[in-house]
Symmetry: C2
Subunit: 222 residues, 2 copies
């Protein structure tokens, strides 16, 4: 399967790109607004993978071209770029493609980080509102520490929750998620259940800030 | 230490009462609006503990009398009873007592359960607003499955997050939490960080509903 990581030059994009390219046979495509930056990061990922004996091709393109080539398109962009990015690539999405959103809206005050969803109710809902009608949206990979994901020596042993209203799309993403060693995909229900999942992202930061020895946290349901 | 569980006849109260009485030497007092019901449940807990070779006294009183006798007072009542219960016992609380709130506001629609905080921003904030000024509030024990907690054969292996603006009160509750085998207490920061923690409670229900084989869930940060 071809997976495009829009904003795949950023830290969560890097983590997912490396994990999929390392642990699975899926073809990873890095997207960016700047195609030179996309190619440069794609080369970096290839070098990292090659140093671990994994010789695979990672291509870099504009977000539009990346989305055009892939059947699963991951919006690895900050929440405030989600709407623009979906608008930019919507002509490049075809019926049957799946759009995946891992972003969570946060703000910060003296106490720590707080969940700050957009007016749509969640970033996931914002993506669903912006997506073409024939392209199902799956919320996933919200609660993964980017640095740990990008460190292929780091064990995961954590869960990711999937929300979607389209069962087939959710199953596609579940298989992609489970392809990553140490990551368990759990069904979080429909898109309406996204806010509580996105809200864990700031919580993970708060817990790491307040507890010595904990960092790059994920969660496991047990 | 004497711990009063207001609403200690309910399921989360039962779980905490049994765990503290079983795993620690703290004295557990069951509170209820109905003192007969409190005594009846306290007797039940004694019988359960005795059947496991743990012969301890568990007393049952009105919420007011339970709060009066204890230095740590846990509001094990539903979120819509929190304000009334704090008002009812506030004359019974003394300077230096600690008020603990495990409740989370939820509602439910076709997709599942959703976090539905009171206007104060969280149930924890509601308790802090209602509590006497000299009684610090600690949010804790939000994300524990009551049935699993009350089953002394069940291993926990899960975390609870503590939020408080008063460091001494938080430390008191941390020690109480860590006294329960298999429960790790983590610092979630100040009271303002409560919403994301309370929001995990509906999420745990959604995850259990949507995934075969998972039930009575807790979380572990890792």
């Amino acid at each position: 399967m071809r997976i495009a990581l829009l904003g795949g030059t950023g830290d969560i994009g890097e983590g997912l790109a490396l994990r999929w390219a390392y642990h699975t046979d899926h073809e990873v495509i890095v997207g960016s607004r700047d195609p030179d930056k996309a190619r440069e990061k794609a080369d970096e990922y290839e070098t990292e993978l090659s140093s671990r004996g994994r010789d695979v091709k990672v291509n870099g393109f504009t977000n539009e071209m990346a989305a055009d080539r892939a059947s699963v398109v991951v919006l690895a962009v900050p929440p405030y770029h989600v709407s623009d990015t979906v608008a930019a690539v919507s002509e490049s999405l075809s019926e049957g493609d799946v759009l995946v959103t891992p972003a969570a809206g946060m703000n910060r005050d003296d106490d720590g980080f707080h969940y700050h969803p957009p007016k749509a109710g969640s970033v996931t809902a914002l993506v669903a509102d912006a997506a073409p009608d024939d392209v199902p949206v799956v919320g996933a990979f919200h609660n993964l520490a980017a640095g740990r994901l990008a460190d292929l020596d780091a064990d995961l042993g954590i869960d990711t929750l999937l929300v979607a209203d389209d069962g087939d799309a959710k199953e596609t993403v579940r298989l992609l998620a489970e392809g990553i060693d140490g990551l368990r995909a759990l069904d979080g229900g429909g898109l309406a259940n996204a806010p509580e999942i996105e809200g864990i992202t700031p919580l993970l930061i708060n817990v790491a800030r307040n507890n010595d020895g904990l960092h790059d946290l994920g969660i496991q349901f047990r």
